[in-house]
């Protein structure tokens, strides 16, 4: 019996006949293009699109920052990127797991020389178009001069997805190498206090005052693509696919604007949390810069009243960072002052006590001071205390 005949008589074929909706698909030849792509200067149609999707006026206006300045600020505050062109990238996909299809790729390219923003978007129109679309997109990016990639959660999601899919269709993804700023992490450090999420849309509402209208919920996006495969081109243009395209464009706009906000805050922090974010090891700041960023907050701390618990935790981190920077610098006197101040805010802190004891014993030869601070630690080190006592006894000081 032929395979087809066996299939026709199988239970699978019967189930399918009863319920054709199990898997919906289209058959027959299709002359539809593999993918569509747009390329427009941001301030033309894309900006109009944006205005249609946002209620009211965003804080700071509609415009995008100067790409050259933004690039420089990125280098200064986050320590990444030696280039000045910026490519913001966002991908809409059919899900999260293995086999996810990226069906809209949007990029917003900031040209540092021409000081312009260009919007490009690729939309997949049929399954077989994935290879050509990725090829076209990656060739466009690969053909540009060096740029810094900007994304939101792209390190864990967008870029691995694009790389994997490119590998499946034998397209070189070399264009995706190079410096990459995943804004999610600095944004978390700046604004995530453990309450609420750090999703892009929440941040844009909080930081840019933007409320989207008629936006498509993220959960609906995957099905839009499956739906679009079955529909005609006319149905597509009136269906939900354009809404996803607009969603993608707005994401890119707010990504760039949030980036401006992030580097602004990090360049001139207005609160201890922001200063800590700017001085975070991932931001790769010099020891001097770390001290410069954090000292105003630790120095201004009045010693006479205890700070609130949340604030005290932040202060402890700040002291730790400063002390690390000073140790790298070899500034022993400064380090001792910092540790002393740290112990005022957090009496008996084991790390501070230990470091101060070591410093007094080894650098300053202050055995009595070292013993005092070693004893006052919440987790006293028996061996150190014994050694200090022995040394003091041998000198007749105890």
């Amino acid at each position: 019996m032929s395979l087809v005949a066996r299939f026709e008589r199988s239970r699978i074929a019967r189930l399918q006949a009863q319920d054709p909706a199990v898997v919906d698909g289209v058959t027959g030849p299709s002359a539809r293009a593999s993918f569509t792509t747009t390329k427009e200067a941001w301030d033309r149609r894309p900006a109009q699109l944006l205005r249609g999707g946002i209620r009211g006026e965003p804080r700071g206006g509609w415009g995008l920052p100067d790409p050259r300045r933004l690039g420089l600020a990125l280098t200064q505050t986050l320590g990444v990127g030696t280039t000045h062109d910026i490519v913001a990238l966002d991908v809409e996909t059919t899900g999260l797991g293995a086999g996810t299809v990226p069906f809209i790729i949007g990029v917003l390219v900031g040209d540092a020389v021409a000081k312009t923003w260009t919007f490009r978007q690729w939309t997949l129109r049929r399954m077989g178009g994935e290879g050509p679309m990725l090829e076209d997109c990656l060739a466009y990016l690969g053909g540009r001069r060096a740029f810094t990639l900007l994304s939101y959660n792209g390190k864990s999601f967008d870029i691995p997805v694009l790389r994997g899919r490119a590998r499946r269709v034998s397209v070189d993804a070399f264009a995706l190498r190079g410096p990459h700023v995943d804004l999610l992490h600095p944004a978390r450090r700046l604004w995530d206090s453990g309450r609420g999420s750090c999703r892009l849309q929440r941040l844009e509402r909080a930081r840019l005052g933007v409320v989207r209208v008629g936006d498509i919920p993220g959960a609906e996006i995957p099905e839009v693509f499956w739906e679009s495969l079955a529909g005609t081109d006319e149905a597509l243009s009136s269906g939900r696919l354009p809404r996803v395209e607009r969603h993608n464009a707005i994401d890119l706009w707010s990504l760039v604007r949030l980036c401006e906000e992030v580097v602004g805050r990090m360049g001139a922090p207005a609160a201890l949390r922001e200063a800590l974010a700017a001085a975070h090891p991932r931001a790769r700041q010099s020891p001097a810069r770390v001290i410069q960023l954090l000292r105003p907050w630790t120095d201004n701390e009045p010693g006479d009243r205890a700070p609130a618990v949340g604030q005290r935790r932040l202060l402890e981190v700040a002291f730790r960072r400063i002390s690390e920077a000073q140790r790298k610098h070899g500034d022993d006197a400064g380090l001792a002052r910092t540790l002393e101040a740290w112990l005022v805010v957090a009496p008996g802190d084991p790390r501070a006590s230990e470091r101060l004891a070591i410093l007094r014993e080894r650098r300053f030869g202050d055995l009595i001071g070292a013993l005092r601070v070693a004893r006052s630690s919440r987790e006293p080190c028996g061996r150190r205390i014994a050694r200090l006592q022995r040394r003091l006894r041998s000198r007749g000081l105890l």
Binding site: S2, L3, V4, R6, F7, E8, R9, S10, R11, I12, A13, R14, Q16, A17, P20, V22, V23, D24, G25, V26, T27, G28, P29, S30, A31, A33, S34, T93, T94, G95, L96, G97, A98, G99, T100, V101, R126, M127, G128, R163, G164, R165, R167, R168, P222, W226, L229
Partner: protein
């Protein structure tokens, strides 16, 4: 030992087959192996030269041929692939190998063994399965030269995310299929299709791995390897040249206790006596039991016997009065161990280790210990009951015998008809070749889901009409990344078009119009919905309750979903390596059973009723048909049986939901006219049971599945929706059903149906032909257990007509076929 009084009191020797010792034949290492690889074996394992068959296999591998090894247990099959693999990595660090094992435990065991030899050669290896933690998975994916996994993991996790494994697939030089014989029946069909998906992905990354398959002794290793892999040329290495000590295989029958009824002593008690004798003689012994319950009983008895012996009390059948000395008990507990599925992995590893180190002298085990886990060697293997097939018998027996030492196998037969048939004709066991393993990768119920998975991984591309595929995609037997091994491109194209028409695949024609591509839509891989070993329900955990002790809340064991009503109903005694726990509460939805350690004098056995009925006929042809069926298993109650004497001391009800399985069944009804062809009702009943057994086995051959993938039932109702009793477990009930004008049912054991009974029913002519050939092919005179099954030959009311049975069965077969108007 066989002369001991105790033994002669309870059993008689039926047959003794001795095999003389055989010296090993050695060959020099194949020249292609690098010196450091040979040196590693000499250093780590003390192997200076391989056996001749190992050298032969390695030569074939060195020449790039696909190899299937089918030599006996402990003949050094692992070395045949380990050495060439290590050599390949020493030559080319980008070379990779994928090792497939049927179980996670085997994969872990093999990786440890390979690490020992290969660690110094710079080869990285790791497991990739459900037990591997995420960071280790990343390391294995990125760096391991040898990835050990199982077919389920390959199907569910590795192939759908093939882009993350590009280094593995691009460098893939070898695929090792260990324990090939386990890939048979419906599961084998799934594995075959997963391998075809693997070949496509490999072709996409530009590799074509060489296959090294290792199998236990089966009748058709090369044919199975070809069917599974879709490749056509295999070098078979089946000549075993490893040294073997002398081997004695003793078949033992428990003594008849009542000459009139022919009742024999309990086989488990006889197994206990036999194993005890071996233990006293200081022999390392494995006792293979057929069921988990038997493992627990045997472990308990052997421990009690040893403990009492240590304090100087003679043991017998009588219940033990008081507990033995605590020290003696502890010593006995470490000396005698149990091993079965359901034990937590830690406990299983501990028992394996104890067996290797010699700390445990006797281990009672189920077939969980049958596959190639390294346990060193034991002196003797006791088979408590005939394992059911000759292949399984030799596989288990082969565990005995360490490096040239004498090996002893003792098989204690039970009073089951099949066991007694072995006793009646022992030459059938020693003389005949082992069973075939069959697989049908083209079964649409198996093939289509895998085609969907494959299309999701990489789309299929076929020329629409007139156009032809590029040459590199069609070559070398596997059809490249657009073909399917074992299916001609044209038939595959037709099938894909049919699937596209039904919407099972998504079809697109490219802009030039000369190629059609087929995709599987959806973000999640269809592999999620395809379970290769049947539907997966969450396991039950056995949780200990001991409020004042540290053990409180400890998970003791796991029990399969299907087995939970049998072993974990409230009131059940759950035995675990000789200890007894009483089930206090069963949390059905939470999948937990709460147990308390008790010192129980009895164990429990659930009463189980298995029935089948047709819910909705799909196709009716005269007195035969095919339809959707329901298989229901009810557990109405349980029996309490006293330890040692096994006497029934009580009964309790069980109140748990019935387990339902929805599947497909074929039926053949004996019309009054057909029934008249064998007029005597009891002769007819016996013949009906024989026909049911024959059709079951003929269908398994016809559909190339395992016998256990199908079930048969006999019902007296004949009306649609009436229940039929499933064989062969409840013979008396089945006999009752076979009177009158019964209906024979043949159903797929797999939930949802696996297309087996349907295929058999649609090819009824071939099915009946095969059944007749099976009957004629049997050498027995009047119909025996092998050809007509146990029920038909049962020694009760139907047994007196054996002279006519064979003729009756033939008559009924003809009558049933006449009623099946295809």
């Amino acid at each position: 030992m066989l002369e001991s009084l105790e033994f002669r009191r309870v059993a008689e020797v039926v047959a003794v087959e001795t095999t003389p010792a055989r010296a090993g034949t050695y060959s020099p290492w194949p020249t292609f192996l690098r010196p450091e690889v040979r040196a590693a074996w000499a250093r780590e394992e003390g192997i200076e030269r391989p056996y001749a068959h190992q050298a032969e296999a390695m030569e074939h591998i060195g020449h790039g041929r696909d190899v299937v090894l089918a030599t006996s247990t402990a003949s050094g099959k692992s070395l045949c692939y380990q050495a060439p693999l290590l050599d390949a990595v020493a030559r080319d660090p980008a070379a990779r190998a994928l090792l497939l094992f049927p179980t996670k435990a085997l994969a872990r065991d093999q990786v440890e063994a390979m690490r020992k030899v290969g660690g110094s050669l710079g080869a990285g290896m790791g497991t990739f399965d459900g037990d591997t933690p995420p960071d280790q998975r990343r390391a294995t994916r990125a760096r391991a030269h040898f990835v050990a996994t199982n077919p389920d993991m390959l199907h569910q996790s590795i192939l759908p995310a093939h882009d993350r494994f590009s280094a593995l697939f691009a460098g893939l030089r070898f695929v090792v299929l260990d324990e090939l014989h386990t890939y048979r029946g419906v599961f084998g069909g799934h594995v075959a299709n997963v391998l075809r998906r693997l070949w496509r992905v490999c072709a996409r990354y530009g590799s074509r791995p060489q296959i090294i398959a290792c199998s236990a002794t089966i009748a058709n290793p090369a044919a199975l390897a070809m069917a599974l892999t879709g490749r056509e040329e295999f070098e078979l290495v089946a000549r075993d040249t490893s040294p073997k000590g002398p081997r004695s295989f003793v078949i033992v029958n428990p003594k008849v206790t009542d000459e009139v009824t022919g009742v024999r002593r309990d086989y488990l008690k006889v197994s206990r006596v036999v194993t005890n004798e071996l233990r006293k003689a200081g022999a390392g012994t494995l006792a293979f039991c057929r069921t988990r319950k038997a493992v627990e009983l045997l472990t308990r008895y052997l421990r009690e016997d040893e403990a009492l012996e240590r304090v100087g009390v003679h043991t017998g059948d009588a219940p033990v009065a008081g507990p033995a000395d605590a020290g003696a008990r502890a010593a006995a507990n470490s000396h005698v161990r149990g091993y079965r599925g359901g034990y937590l992995p830690d406990r299983r590893r501990e028992v394996e280790q104890a067996l290797r180190s010699g700390e445990a002298q006797v281990v009672a085990a189920t077939n969980a210990l049958e596959l190639g886990i390294d346990i060193g060697g034991v002196d003797a293997v006791v088979l408590a009951g005939y394992p059911g097939t000759r292949a399984a018998t030799w596989q288990r027996a082969g565990r005995a015998g360490r490096r040239g030492q004498p090996a002893l196998n003792i098989m204690v037969l039970s009073s089951r008809p099949l066991d007694q048939a072995v006793a009646a004709d022992t030459q059938a066991l020693f003389g005949r070749s082992v069973e075939h393993a069959r697989v049908d990768p083209s079964n649409p119920e198996v093939l289509i889901p895998h085609l969907r998975c494959a299309a999701h991984e990489l789309p299929f591309e076929v020329p629409t009409s007139g156009a032809s595929l590029p040459a590199e995609d069609t070559g070398r037997g596997e059809g490249g990344s657009h073909g399917w091994a074992g299916i001609a491109p044209a038939s595959l194209g037709d099938l894909l078009e049919a699937l596209g028409d039904r919407g099972i695949l998504h079809r697109e024609v490219d802009t030039a119009g000369d190629r059609a591509r087929f995709f599987a839509l959806g973000a999640a891989s269809p592999a999620r919905q395809v379970n290769m070993r049947g539907p997966v329900e969450e396991n039950f955990e056995v949780v200990e309750q001991a409020p004042d002790r540290a053990e409180h809340g400890r998970v003791l064991a796991e029990v399969n979903f299907e087995d939970a009503p049998l072993y974990l109903h409230p009131g059940a005694i759950y035995p675990l390596e000789g200890e007894t726990y009483e089930v206090r509460r069963l949390d059905w939805d939470g999948r937990k059973a709460y147990v308390r350690a008790v010192d129980s004098a009895y164990y429990t056995e659930a009463i189980c009723h298995l029935r089948v009925r047709i819910l909705e006929p799909v196709q009716v042809r005269g007195d035969a048909g095919l339809g959707y069926a329901q298989v229901a298993r009810a557990v109405p109650g349980f029996k309490k049986l006293r330890f040692r004497t096994h006497e029934n001391i009580g009964f309790g009800p069980v109140n748990l939901p019935d387990l339902d399985l929805h599947t497909v069944a074929a039926w053949w009804r004996l019309s009054p006219r057909a029934a008249a062809s064998v007029a005597l009702p009891e002769r007819r009943a016996a013949a009906v049971l024989g026909v049911a057994h024959l059709l079951h086995h003929a269908a398994a051959m016809l559909t190339m599945c395992d016998v256990r993938d199908l079930g048969h039932a006999v019902g007296s109702g004949g009306q649609e929706g009436s229940w039929a009793c499933v064989g062969p477990h409840k013979t008396p009930a089945l006999e009752m059903e076979a009177w009158g004008h019964p209906t024979i049912y043949l159903y797929d054991v797999l939930s949802g149906g696996a297309g087996l009974s349907g295929h058999a029913a649609r090819n009824a002519r071939q099915l009946f032909d095969r059944a007749r050939r099976l009957l004629d092919g049997c050498r027995c005179g009047a119909g025996c257990v092998t050809c007509l099954g146990a029920e038909s030959s049962h020694g009760s009311s139907l047994g007196g007509h054996s002279a006519h049975r064979r003729a009756d069965v033939r008559t009924l077969l003809d009558a049933l076929e006449a009623g099946d108007s295809v």
